[in-house]
C-alpha cells in the first residue's frame, strides 16, 4: 500500500478524524498528501527570485510531490473504491433497516394482537376466577357432606360390628343346639386322648381353610367312633380266621400251622406235600387291597395300637404329642408313616403305611360319607366336592330331572341332600 512505501515527510495535521469510516487510514493518508501539496504551492509562489538551487530543490520537491500525487491518486482510487463499498454497505444497511422497519411493523402488529388477546385472556381469567370461587364454594359444601357421610358410615360400621357379634353369638347357640340334637354328641368308644389325636389328624389331612370347614368341624372323629363302635370295629365284615401271615413278604414263609390234608369223595387228595416252606414269601400288593390287613386283632384294637404308636413316634421324632406339634411337623409326621420311617417293630408291630392307609381312608370317608354316620356335618364334604348326594335335581325345586342331568354339558351346582332328608321327603 502507498502509506508503507511513502517517503518520510513533515507530519501534517491529522484531518482523518472526521472521516473515520471504513478504510479511514487510506483516506487520511490521501488527505494528508493533498494538504501537503497545497502547502508546498504557496511556498513556491513567494520564492520566484530564488536561484537554480531552488529550482533543483523545487524539481526535487516536484518529483516528490508528483510521487505523492501518484500515491494520493492511488489512495483516492482506493478511497473511491472504499466509498463504493461503503455505499454498497450503506445500501445493505438501508435495506436491513427497511426490513427491520418492516419487522418492527409486524411486531407492532403482533403486539397489538397480543394485547388484544391479553385483553381476552384477562377477561377469561376473570371469569375463571369467578368459577373457581364458585367451585371452592361447592367443594366446601361437598366436604361437609363427606364428613356427614363418614359419620353415617361410622355409625353403620358400628351396627355391622354389633350384627357380626350377634351372628357369632347366635351361631354359637346354634352349634350348641345342633350338638344337643345330634346323634353323635357322645363318643361311644374312643377315649378323650384318642379323640384329641384323631381331631388333630383329621385337621391335618383336611384343614379348615378358605375352601371351607375341615376334618374336625366335619365330625370325622364322630364318624370314626361310630364305626369303631360297630361292625367295622369288631371286623364283623371281615374274614378273621388264622393263620396270620404278613403281606408283601420277600423272605421265605414257614407257617407254624399244620397244613390240612383234604381227601375228596373220589379219593382226590389236596395237600401241599412234605414241603411247607414257601420260598418266595407272600404276594406283592397295592395299598388298597383286601389282603393287606393280616393282623390277628380287630380294627378297634388296630386303631388303639396305631394311635398309641403314632403318639410315641411323634414324641420321639418331633418332641411332643402329635396334637401339639406345629402344622408343618404334623404333616411330616403323617408322611413319615406313609413312608414307613418308624419301623414296624417300633410301631406296635403295625406297618406304619398300613395305619396311614386306614387313617386317610377313615378321615376322608368321615368327611364325605352320608351325614347319618356322624361325619360330613352340614354336608360340608359334599359342598366341597360338589357331590349332590341324593338330590335328584328337584329337591329344592330346582326343576331338573335326572334324565336331563345325565345329558347336560353345562351342569348347574346342585345343593346336596342327605339320605335322612331324602327319606323325610322334603327339605
Amino acid at each position: 500500500m502507498a502509506e508503507t512505501s511513502a517517503k518520510p515527510m513533515e507530519p501534517a495535521k491529522d484531518r482523518r478524524s472526521f472521516l473515520k469510516i471504513g478504510g479511514g487510514v487510506v483516506v487520511g493518508a490521501a488527505v494528508a498528501g493533498v494538504a501537503t501539496i497545497a502547502y508546498y504551492n504557496g511556498v513556491v509562489g513567494s520564492n520566484n527570485s530564488s536561484s537554480s538551487s531552488t529550482v533543483e530543490s523545487l524539481s526535487s520537491q516536484l518529483a516528490n510531490t508528483q510521487s505523492q500525487l501518484s500515491d494520493t491518486q492511488s489512495s483516492l482510487s482506493n478511497a473511491q473504491s472504499t466509498i463504493g463499498a461503503l455505499n454498497s454497505q450503506l445500501s445493505d444497511t438501508q435495506s436491513s433497516l427497511s426490513n427491520t422497519q418492516s419487522s418492527l411493523s409486524s411486531a407492532q402488529s403482533s403486539l397489538s394482537a397480543a394485547n388484544s388477546q391479553n385483553a381476552g385472556l384477562n377477561s377469561q381469567l376473570s371469569q375463571t376466577q369467578a368459577s373457581l370461587t364458585s367451585a371452592n364454594g361447592q367443594v366446601s359444601s361437598l366436604q361437609s357432606a363427606v364428613t356427614s357421610a363418614n359419620g353415617q358410615i361410622s355409625t353403620l360400621q358400628g351396627q355391622v360390628s354389633s350384627a357380626n357379634a350377634a351372628i357369632t353369638s347366635v351361631q354359637a347357640q346354634a352349634n350348641t343346639l345342633q350338638a344337643s340334637v345330634d346323634n353323635f354328641t357322645a363318643y361311644q368308644t374312643l377315649g378323650p386322648n384318642e379323640v384329641t389325636l384323631i381331631n388333630a389328624i383329621a385337621s391335618t389331612f383336611i384343614p379348615t381353610d378358605s375352601n371351607g370347614p375341615g376334618g374336625t368341624q366335619a365330625g370325622c372323629s364322630y364318624f370314626i367312633d361310630g364305626q369303631l363302635s360297630g361292625k367295622y370295629g369288631v371286623s364283623g365284615h371281615m374274614y378273621m380266621q388264622g393263620p396270620f401271615i404278613f403281606h408283601d413278604l420277600t423272605t421265605a414263609v414257614t407257617p407254624t400251622e399244620t397244613p390240612r390234608i383234604f381227601t375228596a369223595a373220589n379219593g382226590q387228595v389236596y395237600t401241599v406235600g412234605t414241603n411247607t416252606t414257601f420260598s418266595a414269601g407272600t404276594m406283592k400288593t397295592v395299598p388298597d387291597n383286601g389282603m393287606r390287613y393280616q393282623y390277628n386283632f380287630n380294627l378297634r384294637y388296630f386303631w388303639h395300637l396305631g394311635l398309641q404308636a403314632l403318639e410315641t413316634y411323634a414324641n420321639k421324632a418331633y418332641g411332643g404329642n402329635f396334637e401339639n406339634l406345629t402344622s408343618a411337623n404334623q404333616v411330616k409326621c403323617l408322611q413319615d408313616l406313609a413312608n414307613n420311617v418308624p419301623t414296624q417293630a417300633a410301631f406296635n408291630d403295625i406297618l406304619p403305611a398300613d395305619f396311614f392307609y386306614e387313617l386317610f381312608f377313615m378321615v376322608y370317608s368321615g368327611f364325605t360319607m352320608d351325614p347319618m354316620y356322624g361325619g360330613n356335618k352340614g354336608m360340608v364334604g359334599w359342598l366341597l366336592t360338589g357331590n349332590n348326594g341324593v338330590n335328584m335335581g328337584n329337591f329344592y325345586g330346582e326343576g331338573y330331572t335326572t334324565k336331563q342331568i345325565m345329558l347336560m354339558t353345562n351342569p348347574p351346582i346342585l345343593k346336596p341332600v342327605s339320605l335322612g332328608q331324602y327319606q323325610k321327603g322334603s327339605p
Binding site: T204, F205, P207, D209, G214, K231, G236, H237, M238, Y239, P243, I245, H247, L249, V253, P255, R260, F262, A264, A265, N266, G267, Q268, Y270, F278, A280, G281, T282, M283, D288, N289, M291, L334, Q335, A338, F360, F361, S365, T368, M369, D370, L384, T385, G386, N387, N388, V390, N391, M392, G393, T402, K403, I405, M406, L407, M408, T409, P411, I413, L419
Partner: protein
Amino acid sequence: MSTVITEPAVDVVVLGLGTMGGLVATQLAVDGYNVAGIDKGPFWDFTQDFSQTKYDEWGTTIMKKYDHPLPLFTTTMRNYSNQFALPIRRYTVSQFPANGHGVGGAAHHYSGGMGRTGAWNYTEASSTASRYGPNFLSTTVPNADLFDWPYTYTEMDPYYVTYEAAWGMSGTNMGPLVPMSQNFPLPPHPTTPLGAAFQTATEALGYSPFPVVSALASAPYMNSYGVQVNECVYDGWCSCSPCYPCETGAKANTAARAVTAGVGTGKLKLALNSYIFRINTNQSTGLATSVSYYDAAGNIHVQPGTAIFTGLWTFNQYNLLAKSGIGKQYNPTTVTGALGRGACNNGSSGTGRTVSGTLPIGYANYQAGNGAGGGFQIYDFADDAIDHTGMAQPGIGGPSLSVGSYTGNAPSDVSVAVGGTVNTIGSTWKATQKNKYIHSSTTVSLAGSGVTVPTTDLLLDLDPFYSDYYGDPLTRFTETYNNNSVGVANLITPLLQPILTKMGCTNITMGAAAVNGNSQPSSYSIHVRGGGRVGASPTYSCYNAWHQSWDVNNVFAAGELQNTTGCTVTPGTHTIGPMAYVAVDGIKQYLKSPQLLTGQP
C-alpha cells in the same frame, strides 16, 4: 349235634339262584320239571329292600350290606406256586369282588353293561393257527393254554336271543361284525352329547357304531316269562364299582326277571339262606345223587335230584366240585387234569398304550343316568378284525371301544378315600377336591388291548391252611399275567388316533409304546373266567358242549368257570347267558336219556 333233614327228591337240583341258576331253575319249572333251587342268601324284595337305603356309599360300597359276607368264606391268592397264599380279608374299592348273595346274585349290583362276544372268540385257537401259523404266540406267551370252545358263535345265536328276551336288553344290535338274528328287544337309552360325537366321527370314518348294550330296561317291558318290567328312572346310583342294587327292577337279574315266575308255576321250591357244601356222588354208578347244605340254624339238609345244575359263582363252583371230587384236579407241573385249569383274569404283565384328547364337552358326576347307557361302541378293532400279520411282537385279539356312557352312574368319594398318599395332606391337596363333580371338558381315551390268554401255570386248588365258616377248605387262586396285550396295544392304538381327530379333540397325546413287563395281579375281580372249562376233550376241559360234566354225567354247569378262553367283551354278563339255556337243553336231553351227550347245541 346238628340234625340231618332229607328233602323230597326232584328232577333237578339247582345250586345258586343268580344269573345262571335263576334262569335254569325258572326255565325248567316253566317247562314242567320239578326243581329245587338253593341259595346261600335271601330273596331281596327290590320294592322294599333298596328304595330307601341304597343311597349310601359307605354302607353299600365298603360295608357291602347287600352282598356276600366274607366271614362265610373268602378266597386266598398268590402269584406263584412257591408263595404262601393269603386270604382276602375285607372288601376294598380296587378289590370289590362283591359276590352276589341271594336270589338275583351279583346282577343285583352290576353296571348292566352287556354285549355279545364276537364269533372269533369261540375259535380263537384254530383261527389264530390258521391265519398266522401254529407258533404265532410261542415267543410272547410260550405257555399259552388256548383251545376252541366246543361250539360256534352261530350255534349260540338262538340261545343269545332267548337270554336277551328274558333279560329285556336295551340297544339296537351290534352291527355287521357281531351279527344277530334278532335285535335287542328294547330301544337304546338316550344318547349323551359325547356319545353322539363318537357316533358321528366313527360313522364318518367308515366304522359301524352301535348304542352300548344295556341290561337296564329303557321302557316298560313284559318279558318271556310274563314278568312285568319297569323302565329305568336314571337315578344314577347304579354302577358296579360301588355296586348299587336297583330299587325299580329295571336292572335285569333273576329276582326281577325270572324266579318269581318260576315259583309261580308251583314247580320250583326255594331253600334260602342255605349254604351248599357237597354234591354227593355214588362211587359205583359215578353219578351224583343229592346235594347237602346247611340251613341258617346249622342243620344239614340233603336234597336228592336226578340231575344237578350248578350256577355258583366261578370260584365257588370250583370249590364245591373239588370238595365233592367231581373232576380231576389240575396239576400245573405235569399239565394233567382239567379241574382248576385255565382260570384267568383281565390284565397284562406289560404296560398298555393309550391315545387321548380333550373335548370342550362338560358333564357332571352327579348321580344321574345308569351304569350302561348313553354311549356308542365300535367292534371294528375287536377280535381279529385288524390283520395281525407281521406284528413286531405277536399278540391276539383287539378291543371293543365305547365312548360317552353316563358319567354319573355312582358316587365316587370312597375311591378317593382309599387313595391316601404323602401328597393327599393339607390345604393345597384339599383345593383339588373342590367341585370335582362338575366338569367343563372331557378327556376321551382309547386304547388297544388284546384278549386274555390263559396259561398253563394258572391254578385253582383247595387251600391247605384256610377254612370257611364250617371248616371246609377255601379256594386258592394262583394267577399270573402275560404279555399278550403288549404287541396288540402297539398295533392298534395308533390306528385309533384318527377317531379323536375326527371328533375334534385338542391336545391329542399318543402314549409311549407299550413294553413287556413282569407286573402280576395284586387282586382278582369278579370276572375271573376259566377253571372248569367247556371243551371238546376231557384232557383240558371239565364239561362238554352241553355243559355236561365229563366226570359225573348228571352234573351240569354254566358260568364263567366254563369259559374256554378270555373274550373281547366281558363274558360274565352276556356271553354266559346262552350257556344257561344250553345247559337247560342238555339237562332235558339227559333226563330223557341218561348218558354222556354228543352232538352240538
